[in-house]
Symmetry: D2
């Protein structure tokens, strides 16, 4: 299974008055991880999007285990859980830099839509790129 | 069951390049709803927090049904699902202004912690205020 | 001079680890104020935008005097400073709820652009609506 | 003059419905640049902050020249403009990755405060570290 690991440093902008990362900012790191996993597989989400195919979220789940602290580097781990005709699921985990402590684990489920928001089949070129990478990593 | 309904208007800041509200901004409206539900029940979260009791998120779940559009007024509906010794769960729904169309439904689970992040019993004064309101609405 | 006053409550999402509102969140309240000032004058920015006219920022200035605290209600005061052929300037002030303490003062300068980002004349219907309101208030 | 160059990739979270980076997100990149410039000079802002010295913003200025697009890598250029007894100013520029096109230029002015928000002298150890670096680069 293809895995992407991307590092992000926590900024002041990410924190809240509790002194740690605000809970709604972790999903932004999930987004960074998904984009980089796609890039690893040769799929540029910006191009897919400019061709009229989008992957809006249907579901988001986060389980918060330990807070990410200001100025800490976190490692975002991203994997594709499943790939269906018109939807897909990613598993995302936020770790400390050295992946010793799991901070947040979660997932996102996405539909494939066109520019008008209609659900459509994930384009063949994307499916192919993702499948090839699934295989490569087996 | 006590329910809070709070209205929020979608700003440009809330949107993304897909032209609708960015998925990680809906949980911020959940937060607004929780705070207002507490206020309805006589609990000011800011005071609870300054007394050293916090309710950080343990879990967040969002199911996205329809996007909230720029400048649209949305109604945030918030209810307490359960109240335990050291944790509680809120159910949150984002509707269009007139509550005809459900946009996002989800929940958040919170632990009660002290200033050091240790899990502690929810203070009696809070439990009492919340229970009285549960009863009032039965 | 037409003035809009809009109230906003500070959320946890707005704060940072210093315990007060993060500096880059005040401009989001400036945005809310501009939109409501326009609405007062009969101009719905969302409609202007869907007709292909936009007012992206060219300049932003903020002078931070006192921090806005979590759960505080702030009053956003907005006025049009000038209206030119293809640009306009707003003056924005963030006050405490009762407008006794000035928290942040600043301004934003905007160009009028079409969908392709070319600078264009502000549409006559907008200019008229704004001018009528300038006059009404003299 | 010591200069820090840091690269940041634009995320969906950074964009708005106009399809480009929301204006209030550029100052977050200024923050990243300032933190990295300090790190280059041996000053960890997180440590300074945990020792009770903070550098809250007094003024922010942004001049927006060209928008940063989704998935684009931008280069954040940061320099210290001046260093006074209890305040300092940074000049920040957002460029495209190769620093051919200037996207945003601006500055931030900061006061030095203690944990209670009182303005205090910038700690000697910080001043020394910054001055040594000014000199090194001359």
């Amino acid at each position: 299974m293809k895995t992407n690991l991307t590092k992000v440093r926590v900024t002041y902008a990410d924190t809240d008055a509790m002194g740690v990362t605000y809970h709604a900012n972790y999903p932004k790191w999930f987004e960074i991880g998904r984009t980089e996993l796609f890039r690893d597989m040769g799929v540029i989400y910006a191009q897919m999007s400019s061709h009229g195919y989008h992957l809006p979220l249907i579901r988001l789940y986060c389980h918060y285990l330990h807070p990410a602290l200001y100025d800490q580097i976190v490692t975002v781990e991203t994997q594709i859980d499943y790939l269906k005709r018109a939807s897909m699921k990613f598993n995302s985990t936020i770790w400390d830099e050295n992946m010793k402590i799991k901070l947040v684990e979660g997932y996102t489920v996405h539909a494939c839509t066109d520019n008008e928001g209609n659900i459509v089949k994930i384009p063949e070129v994307i499916v192919k790129a993702l499948h090839e990478n699934f295989k490569k990593e087996d």
